[in-house]
């Protein structure tokens, strides 16, 4: 595991830029709830008789961004699903604020925003309805204006009442990612290939959202096969390319 600092030289500080744009007149300023360290201790994951990764240990502190890298099939998605509490690791455990996940489940569920590779959108619902549904399921209190604003940030304001099935892949990804703006208070974001299918403008909005979240004390775990263009100060890299040993 190596630590690299991104040298991306953007024109303006993305953190403050995003913060300025969020200051919508009708909306309360989003506040990220205080987060806790997310810790993976001795995590191992196996598919059949092949180990995807073994004895992985790391900590993501509040305000930190962890970039999980590695070639296809090395278990990036599996690791993210383990971190999100969807699947149990073969060995080791995930801790949220030092407490094992199975004991901290209620706290963790409230603090986590997980956006998987699949967008979790229904073809027959509109983007606005999809966002509202996912927010209600999470028991988050988000007024309608916040949801509309979240879609506007990703350039989907005019499509907010169109059925998802009429949207392109990139637009669907944007709808899924709009949750980043409607769940602003979740301190931990786990994003699986969030840049997938996004165009340059979409990537820029996402970069800003991630940087602003980290600046506000939230932590982010993400995978991306493209080099990150984030202007955020600290990106920790977790490389998953250990040769698989039986």
């Amino acid at each position: 595991m190596s630590s690299t600092t991104s040298a991306a030289d953007t024109t303006s500080d993305p953190a403050t830029g995003a913060a300025a744009r969020t200051a919508h007149p009708d909306l309360p300023a989003p506040r990220v709830r205080p987060g806790r360290p997310l810790q993976g201790a001795g995590l191992s994951c196996r598919r059949g008789d092949r180990w995807l990764f073994r004895q992985l240990g790391f900590t993501v502190e509040p305000g930190q961004i962890l970039w999980v890298r590695g070639p296809n099939g090395q278990g990036k998605t599996s690791l993210l699903r383990v971190l999100a509490g969807l699947s149990a690791p073969e060995e080791g455990e995930v801790r949220w604020g030092g407490v094992p996940l199975r004991e901290a489940r209620a706290d963790f569920a409230r603090d986590l925003l997980f956006i998987a590779h699949a967008n979790a959108l229904k073809d027959d619902l509109t983007p606005l309805e999809s966002l509202r549904f996912l927010t209600q399921m999470h028991d988050e209190q988000a007024p309608e204006a916040v949801l509309v604003e979240a879609l506007r940030r990703f350039g989907l304001f005019s499509r907010r009442h169109a059925p998802v099935r009429t949207l392109s892949q990139g637009q669907r990804r944007r709808v899924a990612l709009a949750r980043l703006f409607s769940f602003r208070s979740c301190p931990l974001w786990i994003l699986d290939e969030p840049y997938d299918a996004l165009d340059a403008e979409g990537c820029r909005v996402l970069d800003e959202a991630i940087a602003a979240h980290a600046a506000a004390g939230g932590s982010v775990v993400l995978t991306s096969h493209l080099p990150l263009t984030l202007g955020a100060p600290t990106i920790t890299t977790l490389q998953l390319d250990e040769p698989a040993r039986p």
Binding site: G85, H138, D139
Partner: protein, 222 residues
């Protein structure tokens, strides 16, 4: 905790409203199959009256099983199931919400349509009322058991047939007491016992099926 429950039921109803033809398929299946019997068995009123409770019950059972097979498949395919499992709401509540949505979309229309089929089979008024009441008590059991089967066979190829093989034997008691109550009414016997047993089956299934379904869903999303 009722927020997520209501949201999930409302979403499933809304999705069905956007796909009206698909939502009406179980009822259409029920109608077509039940109408085949007079054609196949012959139009003698006495014979039809005799087989009516069994026919309506078996058709309701099959219509439920056909529609319940996809209960969780769509949510799994588009990633919604993952979000439901980690959203913090109790998985028990989620399975109850999915089953409630299914019953409102399949069981309730069957219950409402049952008196019409009673007329089609020339049943007496009292028998029709009993048939409808037994369906009202019995169809939630079918939805609960079907939901369990759908969760157990989630992600398997040929899951639909497997589901029917797993769930149909479990539905036998409901079928026996449901159809039996109508036969008892026809014979002038008391039916309190049948209704008590159906009620007991409903309570029993409502207590045991959701935890098993939740566990099956957890395994399926591993």
């Amino acid at each position: 905790m009722t927020g997520p429950f209501r949201a999930l039921v409302a979403r499933d109803l809304r999705l069905a409203a956007r796909r009206r033809v698909e939502a009406l398929l179980p009822l259409a299946f029920f109608t077509v199959v039940a109408s085949l019997f007079p054609l196949g068995v012959g139009p003698e009123p006495q014979m039809l009256r005799q087989i009516a409770p069994g026919v309506v019950w078996v058709c309701a059972l099959l219509a439920t099983m056909l529609s319940v097979a996809q209960l969780y498949a769509g949510d799994q395919a588009d990633g919604s199931l993952d979000q439901l499992m980690i959203c913090g709401a109790s998985p028990l509540l989620l399975t109850l919400a999915k089953v409630s949505g299914h019953w409102l979309l399949t069981g309730l229309p069957l219950v409402l349509a049952a008196p019409l089929f009673g007329l089609l089979f020339d049943m007496a008024g009292g028998s029709i009322a009993t048939l409808t009441l037994t369906l009202l008590l019995g169809t939630p059991v079918l939805s609960l058991l079907g939901g369990l089967g759908a969760a157990l066979t989630l992600g398997l190829r040929g899951g639909g047939v497997l589901l029917i093989l797993i769930v149909l034997p479990l539905c036998v008691p409901v079928l026996i007491f449901g159809a039996g109550a109508v036969v008892a009414v026809d014979a002038g016997l008391p039916v309190d016992g049948h209704f008590s047993l159906l009620g007991a089956l409903l309570i029993f299934t409502a207590l045991l099926a959701p935890p098993a379904t939740a566990a099956a869903l957890r395994i399926a999303t591993q």
